[in-house]
Symmetry: C2
Subunit: 219 residues, 2 copies
C-alpha cells in the first residue's frame, strides 16, 4: 500500500506539523528528508493522489486523517522497537534510533501487538516520547523546553527534542536522563546559558543549544 519511503515522508510531515506551523512547506520538508524541493513536490503530489495528505499548491502540506493514521502507526512501531532494544537487548538510548528506522517498516500488525504485550504495554520510549496506542491515541503532558522555564522552578526531565547520539551522549555525561529532577538557579543574560542543580545536588551550566532540546514538566 505505502512504500517505506512514503511512510517516512508521512512521518516527517506529521512531525513537522506537530512541531511548528500548521502547514509544512516544501523546503522545510526537503531539508528534513535531506532531498530537494523538486523531489518533495513529486512525492507530495503522489501522496495527495493517494489521499494521504491534504495539499494545495504553494500552500504547503498536511497529513490527512488517513495519512495521520499511517504516520502514527509507524511512530508506534518505531518507539516500541526502541523500547525493545533498550529494555531487552541492552542498547543505550543513543544507539537505537537508526535500527528502529529500519524495524518500523516491518508490516505484521500481530507482531506489534505481541511486542507491545511482551514489553508490558510501555507508554513512553527511551527518549521520553509517548507511544501511540493501536488507535493512534496517546497521552501528552504539557512539556516545555528547559529554555522557556522560569528561574526558581523545579522541573522533571521528560523528554528530548533532539535524539542525536551527540546530544544524548552529552546528557549522559552531565548526568541527565529521563526522570531527572532539577531546579533552575539562574539564567545568564550574557550568553543565554542556564545554571541548574540536579537532584543529587550536582550544579551544572548548560548552553541554550542544549536547553531548547531538553523537555521538562514543571512540578
Amino acid at each position: 500500500m505505502f512504500s517505506y519511503v512514503e511512510e517516512n515522508y508521512l512521518k516527517a510531515i506529521y512531525h513537522l506539523s506537530q512541531h511548528g506551523e500548521t502547514s509544512v512547506s516544501t523546503n522545510a520538508l526537503a531539508e528534513e528528508m535531506k532531498t530537494t524541493p523538486a523531489s518533495v513536490s513529486d512525492m507530495v503530489r503522489k501522496l495527495s493522489k493517494k489521499k494521504a495528505v491534504d495539499y494545495q499548491k504553494y500552500r504547503g502540506v498536511n497529513v490527512s486523517n488517513k495519512g495521520k493514521e499511517i504516520a502514527l502507526k509507524v511512530i508506534r512501531k518505531h518507539r516500541l522497537w526502541e523500547v525493545f532494544l533498550v529494555d531487552k537487548l541492552k542498547f543505550k538510548w543513543d544507539e537505537v534510533h537508526e535500527i528502529a528506522e529500519e524495524l518500523e517498516h516491518i508490516k505484521s500488525p500481530l507482531l506489534i501487538k505481541r511486542l507491545d504485550e511482551f514489553l508490558g504495554f510501555p507508554k513512553h520510549d527511551p527518549h521520553g516520547d509517548p507511544i501511540p496506542d493501536e488507535d493512534g491515541n496517546f497521552s501528552s503532558v504539557k512539556k516545555q523546553p528547559l529554555q522557556d522555564t522560569e528561574v526558581g522552578a523545579k522541573a522533571t526531565v521528560i523528554g528530548v527534542d533532539d535524539s542525536s547520539p551527540a546530544f544524548l551522549k552529552y546528557l549522559d555525561k552531565v548526568g541527565i536522563s529521563i526522570g531527572t529532577k532539577l531546579s533552575i538557579e539562574d539564567k545568564n543574560e550574557f550568553d543565554g546559558s542556564m545554571d541548574i542543580v540536579l537532584e543529587e545536588s550536582k550544579a551544572i551550566t548548560i548552553s541554550p543549544a542544549a536547553a531548547v532540546n531538553l523537555l521538562v514538566v514543571i512540578e
Copy 2:
C-alpha cells in the same frame, strides 16, 4: 551492498544447491522464486558480476564463497528471529515464517549479536533447522526423511522439510513436534503410507507426502 531481493536469490540458490544437485538450474530457481526464467537469468548475471555466484551460461549457478557467506548470514537472522517470535512473543511455529522473511533483511550486525545473546544462543530454530554462528558454521546431525526409515526403527523428529502452515498445522493436529519420539510399525505397499506409534503410544498412519517432509534421526 545487496538488496533484499538479491539476498533472497542467494538464499534460494544456496538452499537448492544444498538440497539437490550441485548446480542450480535457471528453471528450478525460477520456480523457487515464483518468477520467470528470463528474470532469473537477469538477476543471476547481476549477482555474477558482483561475485556472489559462480555462473557459466547454460551450466547453472552456485553461490560463491562470498555469496554463501551472505546467504548464511540471512539464514542466521531468519532463524534467530523465528526463535524470538516463538520463544518470546508466543507465536506458533506455523506463524513465524512470513514475518521472519521480512525481519531477516534488517542490517545491523550488533542487533543480531544482542538478539542471539538475549535468546540464550539457540542452536536450532522452531522447525529444527540449525542456526549458523557468526562465521557461518553450524552442526548438522545426519537427519533423514521418515519415508526412508526402516520398519522397526525408533527415531526422534528433529526437523521438517516443508515449513508451510498447512503441514505444520497438520503435525500439530496429529501430535508431532520437534523432539517427538516414535517407532515405525509398518509400511503399506499399497499406497506408501506408514503406520507409526508416537511416544505416548498413540498410533497413527501418515501419507508418503507427509513422510518425505518429516525429518528424523535414528536412535
